[in-house]
Amino acid sequence: MARLIRSEKEVEGRYEEVWTLVEEDALDQWPAGPGDVVGRDAPRLDGYEKARGEARYTGDIRLPGMLHAALLRSPFARARVARIDVAAAAAAPGVHAVVGPGEVQGVDGEASFEGYAVAAVAAQSAGQAHAALRLLDVEWEELEPLLDADEAVRRGSLVSPTREYARGDYERGLAEADAVVEAAYTTQTLNHNPLETHQCVCEWRGDSLDVHVSTQYIWGLRNELAEALGLPQDKVRVICEFMGGGFGAKNGIGNYLLVAAELAKRTGRPVRCALSRREENVVGGNRNATRQRVTAAARADGTLTALGGEFTCALGWGGWLPPTSGPMQLLYACENVKTVEHGAKLNLPPMAAFRAPGFVEGTWSLECVLDKLAAQLGIDPLELRKLNYAHADAMDGRPFSSKNLMECYRRAEPHWERRHEVRARSDEIWKRGLGMASQIWYGGGGPPSYAWVRLGSDGRANVVTAMQDIGTGTRTAMAQIAAEELGLPLDRVEVQIGDSARGPFASISGGSSTLPSMGPAVRSAAADAARQVLELAAQRFEREERLLSLKGGDIVSFDGGSWPLAEITGLLADGQILGKGARGPNPAGMRVLTFGIQLAEVAVDVGTGEVRVEKVVAIHDVGRVINPLGARSQVEGGIIQALGHTFSEARLDDPATGVVLTKTLDAYKLPTIADVPEIVCDLVDEPDEHLTNLGSKGLGEPPIVPTAAAIANAIRDATGADVTSLPITREEVLRALHEAEQRKKEPVAAGAA
């Protein structure tokens, strides 16, 4: 039965109380461990399609008569369009339409960051569109930009109000401590750089709009576009069959979409708008830089008595304040916690969610300072983490739906014990060490989400839902879930996704929620179809329905009989079995989180500051694993992306003008395959008995969370040097080495700190 409930909804650490339509989830979970299909390695169903270039991405869409749009963007961090003359551009070869400042939402003459869109053109070819941009005659009035986050906080220039949190008595916690460590940490601005840049093709059909777009949220985008354009929601159709990644940057609407829709309307033609790599590196969204001051205090026995942090997030001109304090509030059972978070509004491009926003930055400082505290107390870092284990939600005492972090710690022990051996492999140049960091993050998903399953006379199942596959292998996981429930081999299940006109509502691919939101709906739809098959089988074979089940493509009777599924589906002719399923509610009164630990083994060249990561062990608890092969691939991807922000990636802005200097991929350095260490992935794979009919949580974000801190702790283990800023460049390592050297020379001063 469908119900309306008042419930807490979480996406990437943002909570809101909302009315939610939920349906009962009456199915029992499958037993733990691998089934016939679920829990077993499944190569991607669309792998060959992608490898052969047959998969159609948004960038492959070429519609008849299609025009190309290009946006005129501000070259200044802050400027006003004093005057603009579009006549020459409008008359240029191939140009069909020009949009001036103020004619489309998000395109105006008050440029507040570099790359701010002030006008746009649509032309026959992309080259003609860009050539026409140069003919737009603009008189800019340059204004003084605000670029420093601390200065912005002082001046009260904030994207949202400062967020404060306190529990217990922080000052008393500090007073009761035998050891107090204070430290400052920084993190850099990072660009998502998905393989596929932001892009779309908009086409009007009468009063309806078709949008081909690279998006993480087909339905959210449909609703946002409908609202922005003043259309009924179903007049907007959003299509995203394949996409080349998003990492959070493609959760919602962007002005490039509204520009394409407007130009398509004016010209009566389909209009394509695709950001170049340079545009992507400026306005594609970013993980905001942070400046953090954190304090950790404990008694001599290791009990944490106080955790405190002040976090300043350089958000740019917009975005939202991510939960940088989340790890500090949630990871440990500390009674006294106090956090303050500022979201500085600057004349820089706005941030966007980026794979565990806030938690990547907050875990970096918390897990580094905790290791310093362990050193000061003379307590083993792994032991310190176990000593302060949170058995219930540290914020409100709610029980966890499931938590196997202690099991992760237990599995970490044999790796952790190797640290003496790792250190012993040091030589004159290369100092080796091992470090660890814990992971905590959301990832429980939630309702609503729906799926349909269609079974025809060919005995094959079709899963239909209007979800997107951000690139994580979602299609394959959904097929596995349906196959398991229908007792079919995987190659007899198709999955149709990616079109809001062809399937029911599906959730966002963000906040590690795709699998835990969509998987239970798919299973529920498959179960509905299976039930109908068994009803028919009971009639046809004159058995009691409760004795029948589906397995291995057969209908199996508990009393011994067995018939190929085809004996029922073969009778259907044009008849179809239609199953319908919905995602049930989250467990009431419980906190759903993901957990884990990573250990990093590094070698540090003390003469040049080079750090080589030789091995990363990743142990995560995300409930039941649907596709172990896909899950390992996610873990590897998360760690590799983390290596980027740990060592080489940084958006650099000119401090005088606020212009982004790292617009190209030679300057913005993503990790390459040569930077990838041995990665050992160990998933606890214990279903969360309280969470849905699957017991599965999401894995998209957890693996990127603790890597940088584990590596920093390994560098300290190897050399005694405290690196405190991301990325850990050569200069940062050398600085920290010199500081450690200095500390050794002045032991008294170090003791006093």
């Binding site: 190209t664 300057a667 930077d675």
Partner: protein, 278 residues
């Protein structure tokens, strides 16, 4: 834009007058054309005009970095410099002649800030973001020269032959000044044809970069020993490939706040590279 494909050196040299630009592997020129830093009505494909291949100690300027990297006839410093440069795809296209003329990666210059190298009044990097910039001869312009092979060839004491003269590689480069902002002594339309390497006993190239592969040098150090003489050259250190008189010359470095670490790395790499020489 026009592309000419002359079949002889004479035709190529003739075609190169009047603002035409020579195109070899295109790995540097094509991005500069895209960025609007180089403007050209005519490109002259010089692949038929410039020799490609290695004959004894003579290297055709059209030889690719990949070919140098793979040849036993090439001294270790140059092979390693090629191996550590760019990516395999770029090394398969990029020629050694073109590589010697590589422009700086200074982001201000690449983004066409009106900097001194572009004829302007300021070096934006000195006050701005400059961690990848020069720590030697950086007073007028703090850009760093990115070529690994150029540093190796400097240490190896290479000479080059153009369509009109022969010179030491060191003479190909000049520091930009108020009066002349160019970083090479090449005349308009002048074409590098060949390189010649003297005999060396031993050589090495070490490179520090931000990731394991496909990054420009934070510091590249080439060393070579010939007869009683040892030569040291640096990449990523000065606006041009830099010949260092001795390791002690690093004491006279003039780092910016953000490039002091490069001096330290250079010291380490110079001493390590010298230690490998036989």
């Amino acid at each position: 834009m026009r592309l000419e494909r002359p079949s002889s050196r004479e035709e190529a040299v003739a075609a190169l007058g009047d603002g035409a630009v020579a195109l070899a592997g295109g790995t540097e020129l094509v991005p500069l054309l895209h960025e609007g830093i180089v403007a050209a009505e005519t490109l002259v494909d010089v692949s038929a005009a410039v020799p490609r291949g290695i004959a004894g100690r003579v290297i055709g300027a059209g030889t690719t970095l990949a070919e140098l990297e793979g040849s036993d006839a090439i001294p270790e410093a140059l092979r390693e410099a090629c191996r550590l440069a760019a990516s395999p795809q770029l090394r398969n296209m990029g020629t050694i002649g073109g590589n010697l003329l590589q422009a700086t990666r200074c982001w201000y210059w690449r983004l066409r800030f009106p900097c001194r190298l572009h004829g302007g009044e300021t070096c934006h990097a000195r006050e701005g973001q400059h961690r990848e910039h020069a720590f030697l001869a950086n007073d007028f312009c703090a850009s760093a020269h990115p070529s690994d092979p150029a540093a190796a060839l400097l240490a190896l004491g290479a000479r080059i032959r153009t369509d009109r003269r022969e010179l030491d590689l060191a003479e190909l480069y000049r520091l930009p000044t108020e009066d002349d902002r160019s970083t090479t002594t090449l005349e308009p339309g002048e074409l590098i044809v060949e390189l010649e390497l003297p005999e060396v006993q031993s050589s090495a190239y070490l490179k520090a970069m931000d990731r394991q592969r496909w990054a420009f040098a934070l510091v590249g150090v080439a060393v070579a020993r010939a007869g009683g003489e040892t030569r040291i050259a640096l990449a990523g250190a000065a606006p041009v490939p830099w010949l260092l008189g001795s390791a002690a010359d690093l004491d006279a470095a003039t780092p910016l706040p953000g490039t002091a670490f490069k001096v330290e790395i250079a010291r380490t790499l110079v001493s390590r590279a010298l230690a490998t020489l036989q």
